[in-house]
Amino acid sequence: MKVLVVDDEPDVRALVATALGYAAGPAEVVEAGDGDEALAAIRDHKPDIVVLDLALPGRDGFSVLEELRRTSMLPVIVLTARGLEHDKIRGLELGADDYMTKPFSPRELVLRIQTVLRRSAPQDRRPGVLERGDLRIDLAARQVFRGTREIRLTPTEFNLLMELAQRPGEAVSHEALLTKVWGPEYRTEGHYLKVYIGRLRDKIENDPASPRVIQTVRGVGYRLALTKD
């Protein structure tokens, strides 16, 4: 795996590189010290995943993430030093796959990198096509269409949609969604789910403010209102 580590502190970059060096499996580490370098490195080195510090000099991490998400669904883990809900949620809303708060354990970061990569890897689950109105979800091809236009989803977004699509019309609990999509250790991290449901609705719903496809089941979870072929 090729990991791009973006942090303005060389010691932090070196630490992550060292930890990845001792991790199972070969890992190549590319480093960047600021936002512009990061975007250039993504272009030139085509990493598999980006570890992105949000507090960067000049162009900050949020703006890098925004720029990146315009063209790419590359997995991103953001590092935040402030540990503020606001930062974490904004990071997730801008399309980060996960976040870690400094000071973090390098071992845990490596585990998260592996989890996110595993989550993003194409999984072949129950093939089929789900439709509602002009919305079409092709589970096998991992593609979502509105009419003939494809809606681009990040791997995590697609996994979440797929988890709901496994049981169309049924309420799926918060805990089940968090465990299946993110992992058992995320069981209680409700804000991941909240942010990602919001992102999915923004992309899929005609009117995200009054969602009809992804419905909230109060106190339980969410339900996908679709008909299966």
């Binding site: 942090d7 502190e9 010691d11 932090v12 630490l15 060292t18 930890a19 001792y22 030093a81 402030r82 540990g83 503020l84 809900e85 606001h86 400094k102 000071p103 973090f104 354990s105 390098p106 071992r107 918060h174 209680t188 991290e189 409700g190 804000h191 909240k194 106190g219």
Partner: protein, 424 residues
């Protein structure tokens, strides 16, 4: 300087009001005067004009530089003119057999009180009493009316009593004003202290934020060393890295506490509530702390009703609140003692009590220990910044709950955290 400006403003306000009263007086004189046939029309015109002239003079004075420079002295002069004009009116109409104009003197007692407090009220009442007495004697002698000493005594007494009452009223108003000023002063001081306190918290939060990257590097390096991936460690090296690790975690906790405190003070915490079994949450917190307790030879016993209590809580935050209580018990209770964690559910909600056999908390310190950076005097010799309880209480309160202190049976401390349970 400020007090002088306030006084000058006050006098301007008073003089404007009194000037309106003068115009009103002139109007009454011109309008009602002709209806009193005993009063000669020439006297009505004379007095009305006199009032108008005085009013014009005061209006000019109020606009003059002199008033800005010596407001007190100008106001005194105007008051003196008032006294003489009113005395003149009393004298002017005294030939009337139904003479009653002396009643106007009471208005001057009020005006004097407003302007110059007790001195003004009492001075005016004395002046009016003298005027009345002299005029009454004059009209008796010149126009042949009866002297009626009992009437003179009565009216003079009324003047003096009015002055006395006005002086009391003004004194009372002065006390109220002093109280208000003291209160405002105190509030300004509190605001300043609060701002200073916020500055301190912000500074510490900013600092601990800057700690985070260096902390990451040190903690990470120790973790990698301890994994022995870079190479095997001798027993002595393992001991040293373990010690470094323990202390880096303390530093981390402290910096996290400072940040959390700053977030609480800024109202920046938005709870991420999920439905969770409170009993499970407490048991998990206890499990997380078992190793720490074992290090001190302590045993943690969990005891509670077996039924579950579903609550809506921010799991990280509530764990932290309970964890701070358990952590404190471990820190302050003696080695090899037992710590009891008891959960309970009733109409008041779900509560968890952490009971230890430590030194307890002195009666006079029981509220203070919940303040930030505060530590009980019986805790000397133990480590900590004194933020744990303060944070725990704030987090419990954010959940709509509370934390209180109680004496444990047989000495020791008991902290009870309560959070509301959703109605099922």
């Amino acid at each position: 300087m400020a007090a002088q400006a306030v006084r000058a403003n006050e006098l301007v306000r008073f003089e404007r009001t009194f000037n309106r009263a003068r115009l009103g007086g002139a109007a009454i004189t011109f309008i009602l005067g002709p209806f009193f046939p005993n009063i000669g029309l020439q006297h009505v015109v004379l007095f009305g004009t006199l009032l108008l002239l005085e009013s014009a003079l005061v209006a000019l004075l109020l606009r003059s530089d002199r008033f800005v420079r010596y407001p007190e002295r100008v106001s005194q002069a105007i008051f003196a003119i008032d006294l003489f004009v009113v005395s003149y009116a009393i004298f002017l109409f005294s030939y009337d057999p139904n003479w009653t104009t002396y009643i106007v003197g009471l208005l001057l007692v009020i005006a004097g009180g407003f302007r110059f407090a007790s001195a003004g009220a009492l001075g005016a009442s004395l002046f009016m009493a003298v005027t009345y007495t002299l005029t009454a004697l004059y009209r008796a002698q010149v126009f042949g009316f009866p002297t009626e000493p009992q009437r003179i005594a009565f009216t003079d007494t009324i003047y003096l009593l009015a002055g006395f009452l006005m002086a009391g009223l003004v004194r009372e108003l002065g006390t109220l004003r002093a109280q208000r000023e003291a209160f405002e002063h105190q509030r300004a001081e509190t605001d300043a202290l609060r701002a200073l306190d916020k500055m301190k918290t912000d500074f510490l939060a900013e600092m601990s934020h800057d700690f985070r990257s260096p902390l990451t590097v040190v903690r990470g390096a120790i973790e990698i060393l301890q994994s022995q991936r870079p190479g095997p460690l001798t027993e002595r090296q393992q001991e040293l890295t373990a010690r470094a690790d323990r202390n880096i975690r303390r530093l981390e906790e402290f910096s996290e506490d400072l940040l959390e405190m700053a977030r609480i003070e800024h109202g920046a915490i938005q709870l991420e509530r999920v439905d969770v079994d409170a009993g499970d949450l407490v048991r998990e917190v206890v499990e997380d702390h078992r190793a720490l307790a074992n290090n001190r030879g302590q045993t943690i016993q969990v005891d509670g009703t077996p039924d579950t209590a579903m609550i809506s809580a921010d799991v990280t935050r509530l764990r932290r609140a309970v964890g701070n209580l358990v952590g404190n018990a471990i820190k302050f209770a003696p080695e090899h003692s037992t710590i009891l964690v008891r959960t309970h559910r009733d109409d008041g909600g779900f509560s968890v009590s952490v009971i230890d056999h430590g030194p307890g908390v002195d009666r006079d310190e029981r509220e203070r220990i919940f303040e930030k950076f505060s530590r009980g005097r019986r805790t000397s010799g133990t480590l900590g910044a004194g933020l744990g309880l303060s944070i725990a209480r704030s987090l419990a309160e954010l959940h709509g709950g509370s934390i209180r202190y109680e004496d444990a049976v047989g000495g020791g401390a008991m902290f009870v955290l309560t959070v509301p349970v959703e109605i099922e």
